[in-house]
């Protein structure tokens, strides 16, 4: 039976492994927003506005849940049994809403070891089968470093219904400068650092981790 998009769990929705780091979660979120935004190239001609909006609402809900350690902790036990790679062998304590092994002493670090085994990359065709939306091998290849493209931040701002003026007021960046950050319209590579710092500040205003960005945007171009 095909699940509706609304019924997909947040990990499948964002193509994330169960042990995704906060950086992975943020990267997957940005990628999804860039893809399903009404100006997103990736869904152009493939999806209508209604489907895009529905997906973006779910993506936002997924991000707001998985980025928050408390919400994530409450959410995970609800979906983990539905993941074939998660072979539950430990008792789940309703009282603490934790797995028994999570309560093990810190010295043993058993939970960490188990998570490391569970998240080993697997290739399709290795006898383990694959999930409906992307396998672990594919997920493993997601970039660990991610650059805050102005274009991506603009899309995040727009899907949250924020105007440039809203952001300008919140962050103390002028709307004109925000526009140039979103367009990445800085004149030359010598302005790369300035642009990156501006984008980090913008990202922080949107509640994203400012240290997630990397390098100069100019070094990202293949022909430079």
């Amino acid at each position: 039976m095909i699940r509706k998009i609304e019924e997909m769990d947040f990990y499948d929705l964002l193509n994330l492994p169960l042990d995704a780091s906060p950086k992975d979660i943020e990267n997957a979120y940005l990628l999804a927003v860039a893809a399903y935004h009404r100006e997103g190239l990736a869904s152009y001609g493939g999806l209508g506005d209604v489907d895009r909006r529905l997906m973006l609402d779910k993506v936002e809900e997924a991000f707001q849940t998985l980025r928050d350690p408390e919400k994530k902790k409450a959410y995970d036990p609800l979906v983990l049994p539905g993941h074939p790679e998660f072979q539950q062998r430990a008792y789940f304590r309703r009282s603490t809403r934790r797995l028994e092994i999570e309560d093990a002493s810190e010295e043993e670090k058993l939970w960490g070891k188990i998570k490391a085994v569970l998240s080993l990359p697997r290739r399709r065709g290795d006898g383990h089968g694959h999930r409906e939306h992307g396998d672990e091998w594919e997920r493993e290849r997601l970039p660990q470093d991610f650059y805050y493209y102005g274009d991506y931040l603009k899309k995040v701002r727009e899907i949250r219904g924020l105007s440039r003026e809203d952001i300008a007021e919140r962050c103390g960046i002028s709307p004109v400068r925000l526009e140039s950050l979103e367009e990445e319209s800085f004149p030359s590579p010598s302005h790369g650092e300035e642009l990156l710092e501006g984008l980090k500040r913008y990202a922080k205003c949107l509640g994203l981790d400012p240290e997630n960005g990397r390098g100069s945007p100019f070094s990202d171009r293949f022909d430079e």
Binding site: I2, L41, G45, G46, H133, G134, D220, F222
Partner: protein
């Protein structure tokens, strides 16, 4: 049993819907890279509207072509495979005869597909033309996997989705007919009246009304393997674009798509064309050539050649 019949043959078709995305460029250079990987590959120019794979492979001599085969002037497809200047690569030229398309009726198309499948070689690369005509779709579906080429432009992506949707419908219809699924054509026709409705939505509704048939058809889509190549990429956002298209296709078309690779934009492609020399040969150390070799390696690894001595003996 001939040596080749012992080898499982791989067929890769390069398609994409829109013209100018670099399908023929990729087909020519992939064919060369694959011929290095596998030792014996045949490139088939099945661009039924405007064949020019021979130009990109630097083959300037005229000879027999697909038109001769379709007109029954040649019985076996392998007899029109021309040598190229690359060891291990032969070429079946496309027909420049304008009557070729008219001559490719259903029976002859099936004959062509059958003979492509039985070509005595270790790999076949099919270069397809633009558009989503049935002949093009059926040749794409012959391959396992098909390779879809897009450029980071809305028109190319829009046409790619149309191409995929047309392929998916062709697959679903074939399965529905084979398994005798009733009312499928009628439901499909109703769905097609709403162009914004996704294939996933259709399958959700169809599965709700007929669970077992829905399972069969969903499995058919899941087993339809397609690779995506983003060509003429200018920055890392275009690499992300490939991942995002794969995500849209898996979620909304239910097709098993993977990203095969991203080929960066390189102005030297234009000059290699003018020199009638394949790019991978002219600039072997360029990022473009590295990307194509990497794709060839992955495609070849996924369709391994089995040496006769490694096969279990029938006497055992």
């Amino acid at each position: 049993m001939s040596e080749y019949s012992k080898h499982p043959k791989a067929i890769w078709a390069i398609g994409g819907g829109k013209g100018g995305t670099g399908k023929t460029f990729l087909a020519a250079n992939l064919a060369i890279a694959l011929s290095v990987e596998r030792g014996d590959v045949v490139a088939v120019d099945a661009d039924l509207g405007g064949p020019n794979l021979h130009t990109l492979l630097g083959v300037r001599e005229n000879g027999r072509d697909l038109g001769d085969f379709v007109r029954n002037e040649v019985t076996r497809l392998e007899d029109i495979a021309l040598p190229t200047s690359f060891p291990g690569l032969r070429l079946i030229r496309g027909s420049e005869n304008t009557l070729f398309l008219a001559n490719l009726n259903h029976y002859r198309k099936l004959k062509l597909i059958r003979q492509i499948k039985s070509l005595p070689t270790r790999g076949v690369v099919i270069d397809l033309g633009t558009g989503s005509a049935y002949n093009t779709l059926d040749l794409f579906l012959t391959a396992s996997p098909g390779v879809l080429v897009v450029t980071p432009e809305p028109t190319a992506i829009e046409n790619a989705y149309l191409f995929l949707k047309s392929c998916a419908l062709r697959v679903l219809k074939a399965y529905a007919r084979y398994f005798g699924i009733r009312d499928f054509d009628q439901k499909m026709s109703q769905w097609l009246e709403y162009p914004s409705a996704t294939l996933r939505k259709f399958m959700e509704i169809f599965s709700a009304s007929d669970g077992s048939a829905g399972q069969v058809l969903t499995a058919a889509l899941n087993n339809f393997k397609v690779y995506l190549v983003v060509n003429k990429a200018r920055d890392r956002k275009d690499v992300h674009l490939g991942r995002s298209i794969v995500d849209v296709v898996r979620k909304y078309f239910l097709i098993d798509m993977d990203l095969l690779g991203t080929v960066p934009q390189d102005e030297r492609v234009h000059w290699s064309l003018k020199k009638f020399s394949p790019f991978i040969f002219e600039h072997p150390e360029s990022e473009v050539s590295k990307a194509i070799r990497s794709m060839a390696e992955r495609l070849s690894l996924e369709s391994p050649l089995i040496k006769p001595e490694e096969r279990p003996s029938s006497q055992a």
